[in-house]
Symmetry: C2
Subunit: 316 residues, 2 copies
């Protein structure tokens, strides 16, 4: 059963526990879709934006795209023997966790650039597809596309059948997310916004291709998210979901529009079923935005309390 079909059963959010969080979502959607009322929003303006890492799938102990990049370094080392003695590649090859955790943005960007360029866009998609089909998360022993949050799949589907256009707005790689977003989230490529490498149009063997180049065109977390929303979407969302301080400005930008708005945050509170982290975490820190959410009445999902089920594989 697809998540769309599941959501059309009686309870569109059946992996959500009854309570204030679920009620807030149902109430918002019911109000903005009630024709003839003050809160009604026409289809074309039902724009919903979601962060990806930590909002739709896990980001601990490190971002899944970094796991991919590290695996690519290992796969490519036969063609790059110099990496064995060169940082940051050496740390990846030796599995030096401390060195990896300490990687600064420059080091990470070097790894991302080295593993995400030098091939055509089609070749890159094929590499990601193959990796996703064969690589399991170390803790959960599942493919990453099986580790998307079941309640969020239901939420996406619920918005989609209510005429929302659902977008992903991520600081992570657009080309990476696009590979699985369509099948996994029912979010087509044109509704995935994220960082990418520059591409160059070339004709190879009489066939035009786009070659991924070693320079990054970032969508920055924080203020970069409303900037990207304006650049790629050009409409202010009425619904936004994030999980970290990197989503602050996206949530504020959404909230500053006229009319009814929904701002939601996933608070990772469940170390048993997923992970528990917030103000002190290096990955996905949720600190300022937690205070702001409480002050402004944004909806905070308490994963432990609000989600009956975390991953689709546990779905009843």
């Amino acid at each position: 059963m697809s998540h769309l079909e599941r959501s059309m059963s009686n309870d569109p959010l059946k992996s959500w526990s009854d309570g204030v969080t679920k009620s807030a979502i149902l109430n918002f959607v019911s109000r903005v879709t009630a024709e003839g009322t003050r809160d009604f929003v026409p289809h074309a303006k039902r724009i919903a934006v979601f962060d990806n890492d930590g909002t739709l799938w896990p980001e601990q102990p490190t971002y899944i795209q970094f796991v991919f990049a590290f695996d690519r370094v290992k796969a490519l080392v036969p063609e790059h023997q110099e990496w064995r003695t060169r940082q940051p590649f050496q740390a990846v090859l030796e599995g030096n966790v401390e060195a990896l955790v300490a990687l600064n943005e420059k080091g990470l960007r070097e790894i991302i650039t080295a593993t995400h360029s030098g091939m055509t866009t089609d070749e890159f998609s094929a590499i990601v597809t193959a990796w996703l089909a064969t690589t399991k998360d170390k803790r959960f022993k599942r493919f990453y596309t099986e580790l998307v949050y079941q309640p969020m799949l239901e939420l996406l589907a619920y918005l989609q059948i209510n005429g929302f256009k659902t977008f992903i707005v991520s600081g992570a790689g657009q080309d990476f997310i696009r590979v699985f977003a369509d099948k996994t989230y029912c979010v087509p490529p044109e509704q995935v916004v994220g960082s990418t490498t520059a591409t160059q149009f070339q004709v190879q063997n009489l066939r035009p291709v786009l070659l991924k180049m070693p320079s990054v065109e970032p969508v920055e977390d924080g203020p970069g998210k409303p900037v990207a929303i304006n650049r790629f979407i050009g409409q202010r969302p009425i619904f936004a979901f994030g999980n970290s301080d990197g989503d602050k400005e996206m949530l504020e930008w959404t909230g500053a529009g006229i009319g009814l708005r929904f701002m939601g945050i996933v608070h990772h509170t469940d170390a048993d079923r997923e992970w528990a982290y917030d103000r002190q975490s290096d990955v996905g820190r949720l600190d300022k935005v937690l205070d702001e959410a409480n002050a402004k009445g944004w909806t905070v999902v308490d994963m432990k309390r609000d989600w009956n089920v975390v991953f689709p594989t546990e779905a009843p």
Copy 2:
């Protein structure tokens, strides 16, 4: 009657003369929408891209956005007295056509930057809206949004009711086109791709805004169009329409996909009703692509022959 309603009457392309061009369009759409056949394309992959200037509305004697920018220079001169004696602004203020025609890219960019930055995105939209509502084309004495091509409106609507997602991919200003594309073409903001200024997220009087900054993020004509299609859409179009050598790579990129494709070109051949220009024109030169279209069997619209009607105001 909206152009959507009009298109749903018996002949969806009634401003198109019967002949090979019209047949080629009807034949393509009928084949890719015929379920169960080899040529069938599912809705999600029916991506159509259109150039704007010269393809959906006129670009002679100069781009409409340049007329806007020149008018803005005149409107802003009280706050910029230094422009009276400084090029390229002086040429604009003195209506020095020769100097304007001779403007190089740097000069044009200076004018665009000066007139398209320093305000919020909302303020810029309001400025463009007001200008479009009050400014008429010198030759045709009509508002610019009345000078969109009636046959192309019918084509857009025909594709839209056949499940295509129609995009505009232009080297011109995204924020400018988005102001009228929704109402005029039924193309929503998120389906308009073009150049823009960088924006900066700021909080003004407790309210977040996006401020347009004096630096350009271009979508370059030529190879930049497939690059932008990949960045913003992430799917290869099956249908593309342009009118100049600047659309060459977009048409080639579309044509290189697997399965049935449609590549179309507007050839401006009607000096009486609109304009006639091609290989020698500085604006919208159609030279290499005309040869390539003939060699590859792309569809070339002969405006004089193929269009019964050019502008909506003449529509019967």
